[in-house]
Symmetry: C2
Subunit: 354 residues, 2 copies
């Protein structure tokens, strides 16, 4: 592949001049510029940005670590990061980490080794202490979906507890009184917080959720199916189910219908995340909207700004690092079966929510 030297030789100028043409420096005569450009074109010259990165100390790269890019939640996260990247003439370097803290640490190291301008992490296994170490050493790293007080400045996250509360309040407003929940078994805060928020809201009405009424599974469709089957096997009765996320909720609905229950007539199901799946499924899912793309953008911007020490673009007073989930009422939740007559939701109201 042609280099700047090849172009310089062919155009009979110095490499400095070629460099000036590449970088649109205006201190070059029009005639020279045109000549150099034509040589570049003839040789199919493409600047080597790795070499440029060496000398400028900027890579125009944003690193992203996620567990699985084929999961639509993370795909949306990637989209948000990508949109900020392109705004900054940068690209996204994608690393998937395979369900272990080793693999996550490796992914992070490889991004550090590439000298990404900013790094955005969605880690499900790495311990807080490891993330604290990393962020304290490399300040352009931003942690998404975790709230670690020691590095609060570099964390962007959702108020999961509030999400749990909103879910419970919604179900309570629909007169439900017997609940169950299926949560992610991963060793992260999210499920604990969502559940704790849920319980808090129940508490206020003197209602409770026992240990038997909560089952853990993998945070996907299959995990949802299995968790519900386990609930049913243990003779749990409930009219409302709070799922860790939409994928589990959809799996749950599948398993419930398989077992002869109608959703939402017999059992209301509420999800979490509001990935576009929620909109495609039948019944359409009532869920808590997770502004993942907004969070991703904020995180990417923050990482870039930390890298260049310019905080100007980010108005801290406008966006807190803690985002709030929003209840989106669709079709999977209705009044409890034995309660007051069902007040059907207005379709246009639902659409307006999106």
């Amino acid at each position: 592949m042609a280099t700047i030297k090849d172009v310089a030789r062919e155009a009979k100028v110095s490499i400095a001049t070629v460099s000036r043409v590449i970088n649109q420096d205006d201190k070059v005569r029009d005639k020279t510029r045109e000549h150099v450009l034509s040589v570049m074109k003839a040789l199919g010259y493409q600047v080597n940005v790795n070499a440029r990165a060496l000398s400028t100390q900027k890579t125009a790269t944003l690193g992203l670590v996620v567990p699985d890019i084929s999961d639509p939640f993370f795909a949306c996260l990637a989209k948000g990061v990508d949109s900020i990247a392109r705004q900054h003439q940068s690209q996204v370097l994608l690393c998937t980490a395979q369900n272990s803290s080793d693999s996550e640490q490796q992914a992070i190291d490889s991004l550090l080794q590439r000298r990404c301008d900013g790094i955005i992490l969605y880690c499900t296994h790495l311990a807080d202490s490891a993330l604290i170490d990393i962020v304290q050493r490399y300040s352009n790293v931003v942690v998404v979906a975790r709230n670690i007080p020691e590095i609060a400045e570099n964390c962007i996250y959702l108020d999961d507890e509030l999400g749990g509360q909103l879910a419970a309040e919604h179900l309570l407003a629909l007169s439900h009184s017997r609940f169950a929940s299926i949560m992610s078994e991963l060793p992260i805060q999210d499920p604990k917080l969502r559940l704790s928020g849920f319980k808090t809201a129940l508490d206020k009405q003197a209602l409770t959720l026992t240990e038997e009424q909560v089952v853990y599974g993998t945070p996907d469709q299959l995990g949802g199916e299995q968790a519900v089957n386990s609930l049913l096997k243990n003779q749990q009765t409930f009219t409302a189910l709070f799922a860790y996320n939409d994928a589990m909720a959809i799996g749950a609905i599948s398993a419930l219908e398989e077992a002869g229950f109608k959703v939402p007539d017999d059992i209301s199901v509420i999800g979490f995340d509001d990935i576009y799946l929620a909109h495609y499924s039948r019944p359409k899912l009532t869920t808590l909207h997770y502004p993942v793309e907004a969070i991703a953008k904020h995180a990417a911007l923050l990482a870039i700004n930390k890298h260049s020490n310019k905080y100007s673009q980010l108005d801290k007073t406008v966006h807190s690092h803690r985002y709030q989930p929003i209840l989106v009422e669709r079709q999977s939740t209705v009044f409890a079966p034995t309660a007051a007559p069902k007040q059907s939701l207005n379709e246009s109201q639902i659409e307006r929510q999106n």
Copy 2:
């Protein structure tokens, strides 16, 4: 960030020795190695792979261009590429191109400028001629989902025409005789080929699909809804609908039910791609399985091999560059309403298909 020089100075050895330690060269005394490693750890040293790339001429990077990473089809493509990347100790550099050939060309240029070891392209706007130019100049570029004879060696694609045929044959076997189709409006081959295959199979039974029975739209849920509404507005009657992809099929089902038709009882709908959405939707979609992850892996491997001129790993006799779609029967297609009594599909058969 610490450099190799910092480590060398601190450890009182030459940078060559540090380099040997980094690269696990065994020509280093154990004592020296340990000392250097401890200094590296103390300084939090991370090798600069951009600098390394300069001198080794390998970047351990695979470039990928897709229209939209949040689309599950492309997310799966990315997953396939990523899995090959990690097998080769590499990372994926992601570029999204925004619906224009300029934007696609720009994305490709930026990957060339990063000297990716291999580049995988899913382009929906760039002309064949442009792709031919690129591949002929840079042989490590592989084009996915397009069949361009001039660069056949670098193309991995699906037999879309066969897909259309299989769809038609399936619907014909269910005794359907009045058809409609909704296709992507994008200026690529896929929709044309799928439709042409569909028509070919109808022809054999002396059936036809008129121009009025085909409507074009954006290849997503909304496009599917609009296309169906347009069909209905034009008084088209049909018992079977062939959709360009699953997203359009799901939109179509939505619109059909809105208009009072039952799917599949009144109208059978068949999709394309078999993204996991097809499985989540109600009714579950009958569709043509697009082995996108396998194609992605093949493309990535091919790109890497073209780059290193080693073809050993790829056994050409095993995998042709043309992949075949497979019919997956689920719940959105049944016998035509006026035809023989409905023979319901066995659920366990369906599961076995997946």
